[in-house]
Symmetry: C2
């Protein structure tokens, strides 16, 4: 059965991006530090279709590889896709170049309609204006029995969690204190779900914490 | 050299206690769930001077034992010691019975003076009205070369962290979402410190995350 699995890197104080996000600083002030543990890894380059012969291999490598395992479609929030808030202007095609690392249909949550955007390498961005349930329905259909990867950001993950639609979340917890930004859990209403710790992986500069999400009540 | 080491159990959304703390619910609503991983352990009973022949032994056992290692004195916030806010009334002696599990001098941060309180088993509570630096100075003196254990709660730990006085923090991160309460890091000003991940221990229902605190600037 298709499951909805989220992944996100956050600071120790719970932010998935720093304060003052903008086109110039898409991860907010200091937010790039949330990914320091990943960017030097060989597998990071590999997944982005590049080659980094000097890239590191450590306990995070298999964790990253696992994010792509058995994934048939993706969902992401508008802010993660980028292009600014409001109606689509110009030809914004995401942060990932012509060949994004996803290689599956990705459903972008937005209030503003837009035609699907076919990229190289099997990634197509679909823009969903009907809300999180419609996006999940379409992504599950496209995944054809495989899982759906909820790629972020914090706000999209929180909405799926609160709605009881999330099956699993893997948090990559970094030793960073941002002091502000986009919080993963602030104000969360978790009355309909319970988390169960499934796995913790210690790696250089990060701990990967996987939780199963169970519905209650 | 004497080091200041903090320990605290928090929810995944960052709270060291739930909302609406009171004499009846000292850990706030739902806050007792932060300690579910600990209370059934044999070592938990042992450290509290009791015997639990059916107590569990798991990866948390050595972590808990480590909290007492090389400790010569303790510091805790007024809220953790209890007895309500404001001037001392009655004969409040803490939550831990006649023989608290600490067995060292413990310095309680308070705005209200009170005579030292000698308990059984080498625990004496001293009440410090001069602020966190005075408490650390007195605790370090009493520790006589051993470490000082900053026992909590969240507010006391945050103050020592911001002041650059903390050397290490071990966070026992539980798969609980409280949605509100006493936050460990909300509003933290970490501009003077950087954390470095020292160790992560996966255990049933909890992950223990130890960080070294380095001063910067």
């Amino acid at each position: 059965m298709s499951r909805l699995r989220a992944t996100i890197s956050i600071s120790l104080d719970g932010f998935g991006a720093g304060p003052d996000q903008s086109l110039e600083t898409p991860l907010g002030v200091g937010g790039e530090r949330l990914h320091d543990w990943a960017t030097g890894l060989a597998v990071f380059a590999e997944m982005h279709g590049e080659d980094n012969p000097e890239g590191e291999v450590n306990a995070s490598s298999d964790v990253i590889r696992g994010w792509w395992d058995n994934v048939g479609a993706g969902i992401m929030g508008r802010n993660m896709f980028g292009g600014g808030p409001g109606p689509w202007e110009g030809d914004w095609r995401g942060w990932w170049g012509d060949d994004p690392p996803y290689h599956v249909p990705v459903f972008v949550l937005t209030h503003h309609p837009r035609e699907p955007l076919k990229m190289e390498g099997d990634t197509t961005f679909h823009f969903v204006t009907g809300g999180i349930e419609e996006a999940l329905e379409r992504a599950t259909g496209a995944a054809d029995g495989k899982d759906v990867w909820l790629m972020g950001g914090a706000s999209a993950i929180r909405q799926y969690l609160e709605a009881g639609l999330l099956d699993e979340i893997e948090i990559s917890l970094t030793p960073v204190l941002l002091g502000g930004g986009e919080s993963l859990f602030a104000g969360v209403d978790a009355s309909g779900v319970e988390l169960e710790q499934a796995r913790a992986v210690e790696a250089p500069g990060v701990t990967h914490l996987k939780y199963r999400v169970n519905r209650v009540g």
